[in-house]
Amino acid sequence: MGVGWEVIGAIRVAYSVKRPLTWCLLVVLPCLLVAFVAVLFSERYPLKISLGVIVEDNSQGTRDLLFKLKNEPALNVVKICISQEECESALRGEEVLGVVQIPADLERKAMRGENPVVPLYLSGQSLIAYNMIEMAVNTAVGEYSAGVRSVVSSAGALSVVPPAGMPPLKIPPVVVPPNPIGLQMHAIGNPSMDYRAYLGVGLIAATFHLASMVFAAFILGTLLRDNLVGKYLDLLSPNSSSSSFLSARGGRAAWAVAPFLLKGGRSGGGVKLFFALSVPAILILFFQHALFGFAFHYWTGFSFDLWQWGILALAAFLMIVAAFGFCGTALAITKDMRIATSAGGVIGGPAFAFAGMAFPIFAMPLAVQYFAFLLPLTHFLQIQNAVRMGAIALPFIEREMLILAVFAAVWFGGAAWGMSARYKR
């Protein structure tokens, strides 16, 4: 049963702890990024967004509305300005992300039915804050408006004014019906509109998509860059010292399956070497992604069934294999680690922007839609979204999974074929 122990010897050398950059790129940086995402979205959704208020008088109406604005949990009134210029400057300098101008005589005009307008100035440079502020200010003004309405309608202030000389009419209070049509908003797959379940899990997937590409270029390209192919092929020969060392001690239980998978090859040890370098990286990246992705879902309150976890795990695995294979193929074609890394960076770096989570794919130009289709991340994110919708999304998941599987087979197969040709003495 000594066949294949030499592969483990090669793995031990390639993934030696004496090469800190290997572990930095494979484990440390992805973990740090996941930690960063977890901390970044720890508040679940934006709260206490900075708001400026221009106050033109000190009337009761102004104080009431200001009080309501201060009580909105999404808002944090950080600046009370007495002039428009003051708040304008704060808005330009991003000290505040929105400005409410409470006009003079607000209450008096409202009582007289003049429909005063409360101007709300929002920065279009912060779209998330824009929506939150607009909603919160509308709520605050709506509450204030309801108070005014009840006073006005009970006093009958807007009723018919009697002609001159006529006695005043006794008019019953005007009944203002509430808005008869309400909305029940349901965010399917993310009911609490949690940013961790939207941007958080998406960014974690994007991190491992990028990590797979960069690490593929690194681990497969180091041998070419440092002219170590011969040394590794020596390690892979059955008579090498490392294999006999490992065979003598029975090896590590964790690697026990590897030799059976990694036997033989197209160009001697080429395929063996490619798999020896790739498989551990893919498994480590997959386990990290699975662990962190699942932990994040659990943290955000999803209660998935086993089949849903299984689908997510399979999709994550295929995405990592496809992304790894892409950079492996790029390396096989260019034979240059730097160019392969650059290719990984160019494709994997902004992949999140192309994958359709931030900006919908249907709104992108047609050519970009095709490009987005070619990214494994796009399909993984779509599967992740669909899984949250339950069994009804299964046909869609099947289709996306098939596409991911084809990508994984093509890119990884291409990388195996190409790199085995490159790994020659």
């Binding site: 930095c24 100035y121 009944v175």
Partner: protein, 429 residues
């Protein structure tokens, strides 16, 4: 005349030169290098301190075009990224969002509501037979949401009952969710307002009085700096800042920072110079080079994509000098830790996401835990993104972003002192 093209190429370079180089590229490179040589010979080759400084400066600049990786990163990548990254957002806003409507009432009022939804302009409405079909379409991403109009919708409204419209959206796409909910809110609000006014009019209230009673105080929203709410205007300026920082830092690491011996065959150029001359002479090149890149962004990329640009040149220039100096010093500091050229690229590629998000351009700064801001304080992009967006997009002047400029200057000084100290110590050891 000294030949500024080095002859003592290292093995790395020799390996590269063995590859076939295209004739066109060779001609361009020779032209650029000879241009540098002429400038260097006629104007700058003096024995004064300034002359030496500028000689180092121009020689370093010529290296950008001498090393293929440097050209790719410092010239090609900064231009390519600026053209490539905005492509998904080129349409600016998401129009015609596919939305299904399940009309279980099929009354005049429900059809009116559908007309209002269609009139919003943002939605592409498809009517489906039942909720099950709508759910299937939502799960298959054929539609991004659906509206369910309940049975006896009109009947209940006319009886004065409160009706709830069910709006189901894909919660994985927040932007689309916001657009759909806004459009449905407006459509339902318009229909509801009509009902309210009709109710009051029936009880003898004049139309004007009914209108003002319905909503005594209105909110008038005005969008500033990005009136059309274009996504590219919102995202890309921040990304450009990260591109400039990342490429400069990685570029400096690839070109060996302020080291005496560098691995791409340029050892004879400035390796004989003193540490300060090497540090600042080489460093100034990057600042000037990126200043040209920034001009390219402002005067070519911005008009090409039609983005808003309100920044005044003086404010942008002051910002650029401080920002590029901070990036430059950061690059020289980190260049001492990377032995291999591509290691910096591999490490810094990972860091783009946190550098972009921690600045608060996307997620409001107030909602980001404060300690993350402390942790990333020494990253120039953290301060440069809000400063650049404020100046260029919102038209702020340099005083309005004074805090960020001071932070950037502080970062530059910290990296400069730490980097120079470390380099000096390494060279002595």
């Amino acid at each position: 005349m000294k030949n500024i093209i080095p002859h003592d190429r290292s093995s790395d370079n020799a390996q590269r030169s063995a590859r076939p180089t295209s004739r066109r590229w060779r001609i361009i490179r020779e032209f650029i290098l000879s241009l540098f040589a002429v400038v260097s010979k006629n104007f700058l080759l003096t024995k004064s301190a300034y002359g030496k400084f500028f000689r180092d400066f121009f020689r370093e600049w010529s290296l950008f075009f001498h090393d293929r990786n440097a050209v790719l990163l410092l010239v090609v990548a900064v231009i390519f990224y600026a053209l490539y990254y905005p492509l998904p957002y080129i349409n600016g806003v998401a129009k015609h969002i596919p939305v299904a409507v399940v009309d279980s009432d099929n009354s005049v009022m429900s059809r009116q509501l559908i007309q209002f939804l269609k009139a919003s302009g943002d939605l592409d409405i498809t009517q489906v037979a039942d909720k099950n079909e709508a759910q299937k379409k939502l799960a298959g991403e054929e539609v991004y949401g659906f509206v369910e109009i309940p049975f006896e919708f009109e009947h209940d409204i006319r009886r004065g009952q409160h009706i709830s419209l069910g709006v189901f959206c894909n919660g994985g796409y927040f932007m689309v969710y916001s657009d759909i909910s806004r459009a449905v809110l407006y459509a339902a609000g318009t229909l509801g307002a009509g009902v309210q006014i009709a109710f009051m009019q029936a009880r003898g209230v004049s139309p004007n009085a009914a209108l003002s009673l319905r909503e005594p105080v209105l909110v008038g929203t005005q969008t500033l700096f990005n009136g059309a709410m274009r996504y590219d205007n919102y995202v890309v300026p921040a990304v450009l800042v990260v591109i400039m920082q990342q490429t400069m830092v990685i570029g400096i690491c690839i070109l060996g920072g302020a080291r005496r011996k560098r691995s791409f065959g340029a050892t004879s150029i400035t390796s004989d110079a003193g540490l300060l001359r090497r540090w600042f002479g080489r460093g100034t090149v990057y600042i000037l080079h990126y200043f040209l890149i920034l001009l390219f962004y402002l005067f070519v990329i911005y008009p090409f994509f039609g983005w808003n640009g309100r920044g005044k040149f003086v404010d942008i220039a002051i910002f650029a000098v401080v920002f590029f100096t901070a990036c430059n010093q950061m690059g020289f500091f980190f260049a001492q830790f990377f032995k291999k050229k591509e290691s910096a690229m591999q490490v810094f590629l990972y860091m783009s996401i946190p550098f972009l998000f921690v600045s608060g351009f996307s997620y409001p700064t107030s909602s980001i835990p404060q300690f993350l801001h402390y942790l990333f304080f020494l990253i120039p992009a953290e301060h440069a993104i809000p400063a650049f967006v404020s100046i260029q997009q919102a038209g702020a002047n340099i005083w309005e972003v004074g805090d960020e400029i001071v932070y950037l200057a502080t970062i530059a000084v910290i990296y400069c002192v730490a980097g120079l100290g470390l380099q000096w110590w390494r060279e002595r050891v």
